[in-house]
């Protein structure tokens, strides 16, 4: 497979995953503003901004609608939901011969839908129709990807993009909650804090799944254990890393000859460290440091994928 095609596949699914994550995060936080809370709106929205990677010194001006508009609808805002959908579609458009017609049509349709839902001004911003459209669109794309595209190298690159983005975004979210909520919480959760943790679980579509395992009894330890270390829940970090590792392994099998040793070492190490970790151990040490470690490894895996499959140096490749 051409490196450029692999690159576009990887980013198509990464951008879609990012759009879905961002819109859910924004939508849930906007919903939480309805409840009376001790947490100020500013603090919550700063948390949202931090979770999607904005620098801590970003300006805050009280206008929530303008902010939501910027995060969801502004195509010129890097990382906004609309910008992510446009980027996913552009990537797919350039490899139309490599993806199926059904995949292209879902993405194209999603793009046209969000053009239609764009509010005429920031004050008209509302997500009631927009958020489900994005989430459904992303799910439809994943569905047709699984049922119409051969599960070969191209499909594997789509998986890598999606699960690497998910692992990285979830880690970031946990890190933000850890610093902003956990470190300021007492032994027993009161009603307000309860609300915050529900918000976190729902952002990861994990509330129902969590309750099935632990009942609605929320503790930080269990939430951390579930989102970080659960082996079966598709939005947990461990699950995402497992799937990413599996796909990287399949890609390595297919493209014999290239030196993927370092990439597989880093990915394998991350996978096993999550498989053998215990939540008590992590809490006894420094959870923030642990989460940042995962972040760094995700970043490192991204760079290694580029080094091995996409932007490898010509000299290295010729020497093999």
């Amino acid at each position: 497979m051409l490196s450029r095609v692999a690159d576009s596949l990887y980013w198509t699914s990464r951008y879609l995953e990012r759009a879905e994550h961002t819109v859910r995060l924004v939508d849930i936080n906007q919903g939480m503003m309805l409840d009376r809370s001790e947490t100020s709106a500013e603090r919550r929205w700063r948390r949202v901004l931090a979770a999607i990677g904005y620098p801590p010194n970003v300006e805050w001006n009280e206008d929530v609608y303008a902010l939501v508009h910027k995060l969801c609808f502004d195509p010129s805002q890097l990382g906004s939901v609309t910008a992510c959908i446009i980027a996913a579609r552009e990537n797919a458009r350039q490899i139309r011969e490599a993806i199926t017609t059904e995949q292209w049509q879902r993405l194209n349709q999603l793009y046209h839908e969000i053009q239609r839902l764009k509010p005429s001004s920031p004050s008209e911003t509302q997500l009631a129709e927009f958020a489900p459209t994005i989430i459904n669109g992303a799910h439809l794309f994943q569905g047709v990807t699984d049922t119409t595209l051969s599960h070969g190298e191209g499909w594997q690159f789509l998986q890598v993009g999606r699960f690497l983005e998910r692992a990285s975004a979830t880690t970031n979210l946990l890190d933000v909650y850890h610093r902003d909520v956990y470190l300021r919480t007492g032994e027993v959760l009161d009603a307000y804090e309860y609300l915050e943790w529900i918000g976190l679980l729902r952002t990861c579509t994990a509330y129902e799944a969590y309750c099935k395992v632990y009942t609605a009894d929320l503790t930080y330890e269990r939430i951390l254990e579930f989102l970080l270390l659960d082996a079966e829940f598709p939005h947990s970090i461990r699950y995402s890393v497992d799937r990413m590792h599996q796909s990287l392994d399949a890609i390595q099998q297919e493209s014999r000859g290239l030196q993927a040793t370092e990439l597989m070492r880093v990915a394998g190490k991350l996978k096993s460290s999550l498989a053998f970790a215990q939540v008590a151990e992590i809490l006894a040490q420094d959870p923030a440091k642990y989460l940042r470690g995962i972040q760094e490894q995700c970043h490192c895996i991204h760079n290694l994928i580029y080094e091995v499959y996409i932007q490898y140096s010509v000299q290295t490749a010729l020497a093999m």
Binding site: S3, E254, S255, G257, L258, I310
Partner: protein, 488 residues
Amino acid sequence: MNTFLGNDAHAHLLPDYSLDGAFDEMFTPDGVIRPHYEALLNVLSQMPREELQRRKQSADYSFLMQGITFTVYGRQEGTERIFPYDLVPRLVTGAEWDRIERGLTQRITALNLFLHDVYHEGKILSQGVIPREIVYSCHHFRRQMRGLQVPRNVYVAVAGTDLLRMSNGEYVVLEDNLRVPSGVSYMLTNRRIMKRTLPILFRNYGVRPIEHYTQALLSTLRSIAPEGRPEPTIVLLTPGVYNSAYFEHTYLARQMGIELVEGRDLVTHDNIVYMRTTAGLKRVDVIYRRVDDDFIDPLAFRSDSILGAAGLFNAYRAGNVTLGNAFGTGVADDKALYAYVPAIIRYYLNEDPILNNVETYLMTDKSQRQHTIENLDKLVVKAVGESGGYGMLIGPQSSQADREEFRRRIEANPRNYIAQPTLDFSRSPCLLEDGSVEPRHVDLRPYILYGDKVTIVPGGLTRVALRKGSLVVNSSQGGGSKDTWVLG
């Protein structure tokens, strides 16, 4: 003017079908239907109008759904449109086609010999058959190609020659497209949709098949691979997603099962071209390039090009990669050189041309220029390097100011212009919006493959000037296309 054509059964289908000086593909000048059109006309007139329109809509929908579109330039986001399509096939008899095929084979053979000669000894120039200045002043002449040996001496591997049919029924050559001719994907998809739209008629006519085109193209490309590469890797080089023919590039790559690459996918090292794949660098042997000469290698040609691959030309010179078509083929489809093609055929093959040229006046010749300037209102003037219907003056439809402008341009740069009589080329029946049939002007572009042998799939792209009375068939200017059925 004859207003009643065919018999009573056809009257409702042809309310405004009129004949004039132009050759009509369906009727003789006396209004008698040509025998090979009879079955087609009967089927069309027996079909209710609604049924015809329904089939037309279903064909249009099929084009749209498959994304068979071209990009219209001039807006910020390229607008994608369907290529307008006409449901009534153009019929060509077996005897007519056989003559066309022989004529095109003769022409492509002579033009390849000519290209080899001008880039080597230049005998045709030293013997004065063609003036040197015509060749050396051509914008598409590539000095870099001098003395370069190309596999099998194939310069033009793929050509798309535009033919017109004159009022006496004779097919003549309007232009040879020897650089990167496009449109073949429309020929192939038109046929697929036609078979679905009028299946029984298609079968009864015994139309010669064209579906082997992509396979023939692949084997032509394989036959020009560098020596010692028995299992060559062939790729299609596209300028990318913003090119108007991007659909065609993805279509052909998919049909041939070869990689569709962009310039940034290619790397040249030690005069060998590689493509970057996830499994490392893979050597490329033949490039079917759909990028113009100027843009193909920023080191050898335009340095601002980001569509090509640096070092490609040196690899080509070293014989490690073949390009179809070769660099510098544009010198043979220059509109001024065109006037000399009959002489080229006689010189290299010692035969008379089977297909004639359109009469052409060279502006570099004083008396021909004088004649042109005096008759600008009757002639068509074309810039030699332009295509797609741009940069031309159609005398009878021009204003005084247009003509004055062209007179100035011709006198300022005579080498850049040629003139031809306004051609009254043939018309073919077309289905209108309201379900009736009227004649419209058509040309024919067959696709010629030249490798270890010459392959011309029977037919080609028939382009239609859909506007009544219009003579311009280019898709950028209101043209459409229809399927071409070569019979028996």
